[in-house]
């Protein structure tokens, strides 16, 4: 809104035939954030296009237009019984189940570990041992245990989501400003009231951040799991593109994956604004 008004003002100044005004106007447009965003995206597409049409490279590197056409095709045509949306849903479905399991185990365990140092001392060494293992390194075991069906994929995703969910809810509670505990105790709170009124609300933003990370980890885990073995899903689509040596299909899959991940982030940060209206927003 502000920018629009700024435009109107400078257009007026320019229309009075003031040369300096025109220069200032151009300067303003060039410095406008959204103009720069647009320039950035367009240059990427242009560079992409020309690097794809030079010589023989379009065999391996499709142009943006080819990717768009391919997207249109796989959105309407069935591949292995499902169109693009069907495959997207297959992946999403696995992510949601795995994410739910991982966070339903991780968050309460993290909370209990932060609140009880004996439990913490028992669980933390084991957790610290497992934490650095990339979730995808479980894939071979998961397939041996659960077969190549849904269970092994959900298992990988659950492990991937479990780790950040636990770490962040644990840290969220551990790092509550001790002065807030002083304040609530001075108001007469007992242990239970302290937990309800300070511990949980103060730890919540970190817990929620953990869920956000868990969901994005879950999304990358599903792709990795599907790349290894699947008959549906976005990872499967990419592998299909590879076996059919159709790079446009691979790139279409990648674009859809990126857009989905971006949408998940946008939705979650809006949910956060709704559940934590008190959180200070960082300037962009």
């Amino acid at each position: 809104m502000k920018t629009t008004m700024g435009h109107t003002v400078s257009v007026h100044a320019a229309s009075h035939g003031n040369g300096k005004g025109t220069a200032a106007h151009i300067g303003k447009v060039v410095k406008n954030r959204y103009v720069l965003y647009f320039v950035s995206i367009v240059s990427l597409l242009v560079i992409w296009h020309f690097s794809a049409v030079i010589g023989e490279s379009s065999k391996y590197m499709p142009t943006p237009a080819m990717v768009l056409t391919e997207l249109w095709r796989i959105a309407h045509e069935n591949l292995a019984g499902k169109n693009l949306l069907g495959h997207l849903w297959s992946s999403m479905h696995r992510v949601l189940i795995g994410f739910a399991i991982g966070s339903l185990v991780g968050v309460p365990l993290g909370l209990f570990m932060a609140l009880n140092r004996y439990l913490n001392a028992l669980v933390k060494p084991i957790f610290d041992l497992f934490k650095p293992m990339p979730p995808i390194s479980w894939i071979s075991l998961a397939i041996l245990w659960f077969g190549i069906g849904e269970e092994s994929k959900v298992f990988i995703i659950a492990i991937g989501a479990f780790v950040p969910a636990l770490i962040n809810s644990y840290n969220g509670i551990r790092l509550v400003d001790p002065a807030l505990y002083d304040a609530i105790r001075m108001l007469g709170a007992n242990r239970w009231q302290t937990m309800i009124e300070v511990t949980f609300p103060a730890g919540f933003p970190a817990l929620f951040a953990g869920l956000q990370i868990a969901l994005s980890v879950a999304w990358s885990c599903v792709l990795a799991a599907e790349l290894v073995s699947a008959r549906s899903g976005m990872g499967f689509l990419i592998i299909l593109g590879m076996t059919m040596s159709n790079p446009a299909m691979i790139l279409s899959g990648m674009v859809v994956i990126a857009i989905t991940a971006y949408l998940i982030t946008v939705v979650l940060s809006n949910v956060e604004k709704w559940v934590c209206p008190w959180k200070v927003e960082l300037p962009q």
């Binding site: 002065a179 002083d182 304040a183 609530i184 001075m186 108001l187 007469g188 103060a202 008190w278």
Partner: protein, 256 residues
């Protein structure tokens, strides 16, 4: 001050902080005996790092003294409790609560019904001059306004004693003056027994019925007591005010 009932009694308090290893011991307070009578405004003045905040935290029950005892209405203080209201230097508001939510928190904990506590909290929000900001969150308020919430929160819980720990230490000079005036006004409207800790002699003379000074190095010991009999509201540039300030300044290390 006609009422001379003793509210707070500190008997021979001392505090030694030990580091985890137990090898390094830092004596912070030594043989502090002090009493505060009902509705008295006591100001404890001392430079930074002289143990005055520790003394206040012992009275609050947030720290345990190494030796000595604190009594409130003749009963020994063994921990924090709603009979003492605390205002913190760093405001320490609950960021997830609105102004209303912060001010009514003590009453909520005490089990008061929602309608009743809204009423009480509104009264104190008005008293500190924050009407219209009930739904604001702390991060939307200026420092002075945050501390008004802190004062209202402590007042609303109707404590027997109000403890203020350098409450205006983080404010700029203008806001600080204003808040001192406001504190004097609020206190004159609703009398309370107050223990106020500061490093500003001027602030002390402006607010106090009685001033006690602490020595400038550790361990903190009581140095002198001054009774301030100036009429209220006080003026920073009155002759008697300046004389009082001068006397205290001469006898302390503080250059204020």
């Amino acid at each position: 001050m006609t009422d001379q009932t003793t509210k707070i009694e500190c008997q021979n308090l001392s505090k030694i902080f030990k580091q985890r290893s137990g090898k390094v011991q830092i004596p912070v307070l030594e043989s502090i005996s002090l009493s505060v009578v009902e509705n008295e405004f006591l100001v404890i003045v001392g430079p930074g790092q002289c143990g005055k905040t520790t003394l206040l935290r012992i009275i609050a029950g947030l720290e345990t003294p190494t030796t000595g005892k604190v009594f409130l209405d003749g009963k020994e203080v063994t921990g924090p409790g709603p009979d003492r209201g605390m205002v913190f230097q760093k405001y320490t508001l609950f960021p997830w609560k609105t102004v209303m939510g912060n001010v009514e928190m003590g009453l909520k904990i005490g089990g008061m019904s929602k309608r009743q506590r809204r009423e009480v909290a509104s009264h104190y929000i008005n008293l500190v001059g924050l009407q219209g900001f009930e739904k604001a969150y702390p991060h939307q308020l200026s420092g002075g306004m945050k501390q008004r919430v802190g004062i209202a929160r402590a007042y609303a819980n109707n404590p027997k004693v109000l403890l203020l720990d350098e409450p205006f230490g983080q404010l700029d000079a203008q806001t600080r003056y204003l808040m001192e005036q406001e504190t004097a006004r609020i206190w004159s409207v609703e009398k309370k027994t107050v223990i106020f800790v500061t490093n500003s002699i001027e602030e002390a003379v402006y607010l106090a019925d009685r001033i006690v000074t602490l020595e400038g190095k550790l361990p903190g010991r009581l140095k002198s007591t001054y009774v301030v009999n100036l009429p209220r509201p006080r003026e920073h540039i009155d002759k008697e005010f300046l004389e009082m300030r001068h006397t205290i300044t001469k006898e302390t290390e503080l250059l204020l």
